[in-house]
């Protein structure tokens, strides 16, 4: 029994919840809850003792948590893609997955914000952040955009679920799509608009992040689908849908790779930024392997091969899953290189000269993730899982009719 044969699937007969009875369900729920708890405890530990207990310092103020948070924030807008394909671009094959896509988008964004907000030096001042706005700051605009994203996607999901509101559904779907582009642009512009460091300040950052959101978001969504299939015994998507997803992922991964390549080539071309590019692409330290092997190989080339080369024995689903895992790993690596790699390169106060000081001018910033940061980052990913598991348990989001005892 396939899901794509369900009609537009807005009525309750076409959607169901997770049964929530199996041991595996409770184990997974417990697992996610425990690690969200650990994430919160880590944040409390960092807040109580001060950030000296982390690996972040005055030279490298943003570390692993920020790389993971930005990854999740970028992927969240992309996870909404499937819903947009169904509603905005009227691709009927994707419509049954629209509700799950909307919840995934919100869950992934919540995970990203969890990490970001709990790492703040004064996380208790969240209310201050929500009531004092400096609109020249892209961070501040992002606060508006992220909150708006939650509001719009909640409305969008409600529209999808409430048959009486069908006539108003398309404008909301369209707004969600436009807003999602704005959110990703905002996230990319955090780095694109910063003029202080050679790694940043580039107009290609925003489009690059949009391309990345497409590939990372779809990859996250496919992993979620795979887990639902393996864990909850959900029926597989139809062969036709699987093939379309394969082509989609391949295209998105290729476009992302293109953007990243163009960014680095352009940067390398200017003598001003060549030192930085040498550092990131061929220097000592962890960044070149993360860029080439992490993002380049695991995150782009291998997934493309897996998706496009017709290995006869390997099914489409396995390809999709393996490629998605690679893309996700590559995405985190890329964010780490962009953020941490970018900050660790010394600021060029006197171009052409060699500088040194007691404040580590001219020196490469040292950073290695500490245990609280690792727990916090993993807590964010766990929150994604927790929200998904609970959301699917109480709301009718999964396409198809409930069989006896899944």
């Amino acid at each position: 029994m396939t899901t794509s044969s369900v009609s537009h699937g807005h009525g309750p007969a076409g959607f169901q919840t997770l049964a929530g009875r199996s041991l595996g369900f409770w184990a997974l729920l417990g697992f996610f809850a425990v690690f969200v708890g650990f994430g919160m405890l880590s944040s409390l530990y960092m807040e109580h003792n001060g950030h000296w207990v982390t690996g972040m310092n005055n030279q490298v103020p943003w570390g692993l948590p920020h790389a993971c948070a930005v990854f999740l924030l970028v992927a969240s807008t992309g996870a909404l893609n499937i819903a947009s394909l169904g509603s905005v671009f009227s691709k009927d094959d994707y419509k049954p997955l629209g509700r799950l896509s909307a919840l995934s988008a919100m869950a992934v964004q919540a995970g990203g914000l969890f990490i970001l907000l709990l790492d703040l030096g004064r996380a208790d001042r969240l209310v201050v952040a929500m009531t004092n706005y400096n609109f020249t700051s892209i961070f501040c605009l992002n606060i508006v955009l992220y909150n708006g994203f939650f509001a719009i996607v909640t409305t969008y999901l409600y529209m999808m679920m409430e048959p009486r509101l069908e006539p108003f559904y398309r404008p909301v779907a369209f707004s969600a799509f436009i807003w999602r582009l704005a959110v990703t642009t905002g996230t990319g512009s955090i780095f694109g608009l910063m003029m202080s460091r050679m790694a940043f300040h580039s107009a290609i950052m925003a489009p690059m992040f949009i391309a990345l959101s497409l590939s990372l978001g779809l990859a996250m969504f496919l992993i979620i689908l795979a887990f639902l299939q393996i864990g909850a015994g959900r029926p597989a998507p139809s062969a036709q849908l699987q093939h379309r997803l394969l082509v989609l992922l391949a295209v998105f991964v290729a476009v992302s790779l293109y953007m990243v390549v163009v960014h680095h080539v352009t940067s390398f071309y200017s003598s001003e930024r060549r030192d930085f590019e040498r550092y990131i692409m061929a220097g000592d330290g962890v960044y070149p392997p993360l860029l080439w092997l992490g993002f380049g190989l695991l995150g782009s080339v291998l997934p493309l091969l897996i998706l496009l080369v017709p290995f006869p024995a390997v099914g489409t689903q396995v390809r999709l899953f393996l490629a998605s895992v690679g893309v996700v790993v590559g995405g985190v690596c890329l964010m780490y290189v962009i953020i941490v790699g970018g900050e660790s390169f010394p600021i060029d106060l006197f171009p052409g000269k060699v500088v040194s000081s007691s404040f580590f001018d001219g020196a490469v910033g040292t950073y290695s993730p500490s245990v609280p940061e690792i727990f916090l980052s993993f807590g964010g990913f766990s929150l994604v899982g927790l929200i998904l598991v609970v959301g699917l348990w109480v709301l009718e989001l999964l396409p198809g009719r409930r069989d006896a005892r899944q």
């Binding site: 005055n58 703040l120 030096g121 952040a129 706005y133 400096n134 600021i347 040194s356 000081s357 007691s358």
Partner: protein, 241 residues
């Protein structure tokens, strides 16, 4: 029956509306008070640093700043606060080398102010760039955005802060050009310490006041700003780089 209930309900609602209106109206009038002004755009405080007078072995300015603000080391150099540092700049091709202090440049177009989400990082009317620690949420975006790496994050619990310079865990800080001294008509601690050594490499004053010594000197000699190409227009100028 329903009439009497309606009466009490109406009475309640009328009373509620009446006192709501009475209480809000005076508040609206009383809140519109302008803040008193002392720091004004008429001045622009700046420091001129004569690199030729600055001795590589001297760090009087750094010590004075640390004393003035109680910036103690915790034995962890990467997270310890340092608002001013002695930068050693050498030319790899000629072998020439200088040393001079670098601190928050108090730019006229500060990138840190642009990127602060809450507006905690702000530029005062007289050009001093400060952090309003009541608004700072500790996101460290300004630290990323500063082209001079001038900002510090407080990584530890602090005690016994100076009463004129409150600073606390989880907020970002940087050189304030000793704003508490300037407001009192005195000079920044680093400038005073430098004068005390006899070298007088640092000169403080009002760049907007044509009669001030600093204004006359920057008109007379050639001075540069660090990364002038970024057009941040710092208030700290250097002579002899």
């Amino acid at each position: 029956m329903s009439d009497s209930l309606d009466f009490s309900r109406r009475g309640l609602l009328a009373g509620a509306a009446a006192f709501a209106a009475a209480t809000i109206a005076p508040g609206v009038l009383l809140y519109a008070q302008p803040a008193p002004q002392k720091a004004s755009a008429k001045s622009r405080w700046g420091i001129l640093i004569d690199v030729n007078q600055c001795d590589a072995g001297c760090d009087g300015c750094v010590k004075a700043c640390a004393d003035e603000f109680g910036l103690t080391s915790f034995g962890r150099p990467t997270t310890d606060p340092q608002w001013i540092r002695k930068l050693t700049v050498s030319d790899p091709e000629t072998g020439n080398s200088h040393s001079f202090p670098v601190m928050c440049q108090h730019c006229k177009h500060p990138p840190c102010v642009d990127v602060c989400p809450t507006g905690a990082s702000f530029i005062r009317a007289d050009g001093i760039v400060l952090v309003d620690r009541h608004l700072c949420i500790g996101c460290r975006y300004c630290m990323m955005a500063c082209p001079y790496k001038a900002r510090n994050f407080v990584h530890e619990n602090l005690k016994d802060q100076k009463s004129y310079a409150p600073r606390g865990k989880g907020t970002v800080e940087s050189c304030t050009m000793c704003v508490h001294r300037i407001d009192d008509g005195r000079k920044p601690a680093c400038v005073e310490a430098c004068s005390a050594t006899g070298r007088a490499a640092m000169l403080f004053g009002d760049l907007n006041d044509p009669n001030s010594e600093i204004a006359k000197r920057v008109a007379a000699v050639s001075t540069t700003q660090i990364r002038a190409d970024l057009r941040t227009d710092p208030a700290i100028r250097y002579q002899g780089i």
